[in-house]
């Protein structure tokens, strides 16, 4: 009985965690999504979801919220991250801290504070639920966009930029043809970190008095009515959206890697 230690064994705790809290629940969700109350296999719940104008409406509404949030986050975060990466290394880190600092406080507390500021500005929040939702979502998710962009942009090799400048490219050209394409991996990981969570972050909607359901609230509403089947269907639909987005983003980052390798060889 000689015991030898393998490095692989370090993965056991995580494997157990993965099995108990990811794989098993996923199987349960899949089971519920494809069965009806009698326990027979059924696709009826899926069909019903796409047949009802209201539930499809909520899917689109969630997507619109997520798209707008992501777009605004990107528009704010890109210049910020760019400027941060161009300042000297030390002050850049300190400035970055200012953006990341809010993440250390629970987001419901931050939204509560933001809500009071918005109330001062607008008076009655209930007249602009959509705008307020977007403002709070952007506030909530902005650090998740800045971080990956900042990381990519600081690692960007300045010699590419210099080369472009030496060869006479205009400033706008340098940005569009060199910097932007090279920062695509950062954009992709920022987008995935913002887009998906903002589709289901229904607590924000509750807090700013937006009474319209998004996908997250729809799951909650089904579950509290003991409707595990329809709730699971929504979860599966979200999962499919995640898969599609991951597939697309993988393609982008892979293309990008391939490009760079080719570039290096040339």
């Amino acid at each position: 009985m000689k015991y030898t230690f393998h490095r692989k064994q370090l993965a056991i705790p995580y494997a157990i965690f993965l099995l108990l809290f990811v794989i098993l629940p996923l199987l349960v969700v899949i089971f519920y999504a494809f069965t009806n109350e009698e326990g027979h296999v059924s696709f009826h719940n899926f069909v019903a979801f796409f047949q009802s104008g209201k539930t499809v409406g909520t899917l689109l509404y969630s997507i619109v919220i997520a798209l707008v949030t992501t777009a605004i986050c990107l528009l704010i975060a890109y210049p910020t991250a760019y400027i941060l990466s161009k300042t000297g290394m030390k002050s850049g880190d300190a400035l970055l801290l200012l953006f990341v600092l809010p993440m250390w406080i629970n987001f419901t507390l931050r939204i509560t504070a933001l809500k009071e500021i918005l109330t001062l500005l607008e008076g009655n929040l209930a007249f602009h639920p959509f705008a307020n939702t977007i403002i709070c979502m952007v506030y909530d998710f902005l650090p998740f966009m800045i971080m990956p962009l900042y990381n990519t942009l600081t690692k960007l090799d300045d010699s590419y930029v210099e080369a472009a400048q030496d060869l006479g490219a205009k400033k706008s050209h340098v940005f569009l043809k060199v910097i932007l394409p090279l920062s695509v991996p950062g954009i992709v990981s920022g987008v995935t970190m913002v887009f998906l969570p903002s589709m289901t972050n229904y607590v924000v909607l509750d807090m700013v008095y937006n009474s319209t359901f998004i996908m997250g609230s729809l799951i909650g509403s089904y579950f509290s009515a003991y409707d595990w089947h329809n709730g699971s269907v929504i979860s599966i639909i979200l999962l499919l959206i995640i898969c599609v987005i991951t597939a697309i983003s993988n393609r982008y980052t892979e293309n990008d890697k391939a490009d760079r390798r080719v570039g290096a060889l040339k």
Partner: protein, 474 residues
């Protein structure tokens, strides 16, 4: 090698400790009964009162508990029955949460859901009846049957599901009505006295509705059948109460479709569907009217009083929902253990002691179903809290407020109080006879009805593609 030896010793020591520990547990378990109780959050006195909060009854006893109700119960049970009981007390936030917990496999002995959930649990065979001994009025330790209000007892007697009488399975705890808390500076009493206030254009985005299917549905159905239930013929019907109950419990397609239309319009008009924020938003003035349960209404008005804001409570003229939460024994938890059942029933009796009913009411603001029976303590509390001294107040401002229906004929339950209390805390805590007359219990719906209502709720709350422009811009 050395290291392994040491490990062995540690393992042996641990094993020994575990054996001893288990043995200790065994010995305890024979004496101690463990009672698993689940109740609503903040729904029982937790003790630690300040001296000035204390209340002195006319017999000289002073109510100023230091320990929580649960701890006091454990001591009382040991004194009275000579057995040790340990209460494992947990809380839940909604009836559905409790039900889900139980169906997932959590085991409780005694829980306190609302009337419709009691009916659902009874229908699904989850409950066991109270023992004969619990209903024995001769035993003075049976505080519940001896102290429950005659009005509540009558309501319980009238309720049944699938031929099973509810009063065999449930003992009441708190009860109340559903109404509107309003700010009298912005909203008139007449406005607040109809459910159609939720559609009132002049209060656009300054009124909230409960984020709960059943409470929202009740208001919508009341609006829908307003003409019918307020017609003179309907009001003078001999079976008025029963007819009102039937009407407000309709779940047929037309009713639910109509409710969907009304709730969609309400959604466009209200500030929000709120779960808990309505109370604070009323006090700060973000909203000026708020659909609310009577107990929370009392709490809201108390809070507002502290900030020098005057709020009132109105119960719509057409009808209100009479609700109550009650203690039920779960057969899976008790599992035919007579000692456990006795402890559970004793717990219900303990919280039903008149002084304990007063304790809970003071602490949580809701209304106990206990009127006190032989004891006058509950009535004393009401008179002390809301009664006015004719020598101190202007006599013109005083009115007589009759709650005999609740306390029974053999008590003098006419309270001399200031006029404003007929619109405020007293009115919310002990509604007048006419409010009770136009109240109806909302039962548990059948499967088909439930499905229809849940679909309706999803439709109301989901994004409406037809009004997408309106939905996105506002």
């Amino acid at each position: 090698m050395k290291r392994q030896m040491r490990l062995k010793w540690i393992a042996a020591a641990l094993a020994l400790g575990m054996i001893l520990g288990l043995a200790g547990c065994d010995a305890d378990e024979e004496e101690e009964i463990v009672l698993r109780v689940a109740n609503w959050e903040e729904y029982i006195d937790e003790g630690d009162w300040d001296e000035e909060d204390g209340f002195e009854f006319s017999d000289g006893t002073i109510l100023c508990p230091e320990l929580s109700m649960v701890e006091d119960f454990e001591a009382w049970y040991y004194e009275t029955y000579g057995q040790k009981v340990r209460v494992e007390y947990s809380t839940f936030g909604t009836n559905e949460e409790l039900y889900n917990q139980i169906t997932i496999g959590d085991v409780y002995d005694l829980v306190c859901p609302s009337e419709y959930m009691i009916m659902k649990m009874l229908r699904e065979g989850m409950l066991m009846p109270y023992s004969e001994a619990f209903h024995d009025k001769e035993n003075e330790l049976n505080y519940y049957v001896n102290g429950v209000s005659p009005f509540i007892a009558e309501v319980y007697d009238g309720l049944e599901i699938d031929g099973q009488k509810l009063n065999r399975y449930a003992a009441g705890y708190m009860w109340g009505t559903l109404g509107i808390v309003y700010n009298p500076e912005e909203v008139s009493e007449e406005q607040a006295s109809s459910w159609s206030i939720l559609l009132d254009d002049s209060l656009k985005r300054r009124i909230t509705i409960k984020d709960s299917v059943r409470d929202a549905l009740f208001a919508a159905v009341s609006i829908q059948y307003y003409d019918e239930i307020t017609s003179p013929e309907f009001l003078s019907r001999e079976d008025y109460s029963d007819a009102l109950f039937q009407c407000l419990n309709r779940t047929d397609k037309d009713t639910v479709d109509g409710a969907e239309e009304i709730l969609s319009a309400i959604k466009q008009n209200v500030y929000s569907f709120e779960t808990d924020s309505g109370k604070a938003d009323m006090v700060t003035g973000k909203v000026v009217a708020n659909q609310q349960w009577s107990g929370d209404a009392v709490y809201t008005m108390d809070q507002a009083d502290e900030d020098d804001v005057e709020l009132c409570y109105a119960v719509p003229e057409e009808c209100t929902n009479l609700w109550f939460d009650g203690w039920v024994l779960l057969s899976k938890g008790i599992s035919e253990d007579p000692r456990k059942q006795q402890a559970a029933e004793a717990f219900v009796n303990f919280v039903s002691m008149p002084e304990n009913a007063v304790r809970n009411m003071t602490y949580i603001g809701y209304t106990s179903v206990i009127s006190g029976g032989e004891s006058d303590k509950v009535l004393e509390f009401v008179e002390d809290t809301y009664g006015a001294d004719p020598e101190e107040e202007d006599e013109e401002d005083l009115v007589e407020y009759d709650v005999t229906y609740f306390f029974g004929e053999d008590k003098d339950a006419v309270i001399l109080t200031t006029e404003d209390q007929t619109r405020r805390q007293l009115y919310a805590q002990y509604p007048s006879q006419d409010v009770v007359d136009r109240s109806a219990v909302m039962a548990c719906f059948d499967k088909e009805g439930n499905e229809r209502i849940n679909r309706m709720w999803t439709n109301v709350r989901c994004f409406d593609l037809k009004n997408w422009f309106q939905g996105l811009t506002r």
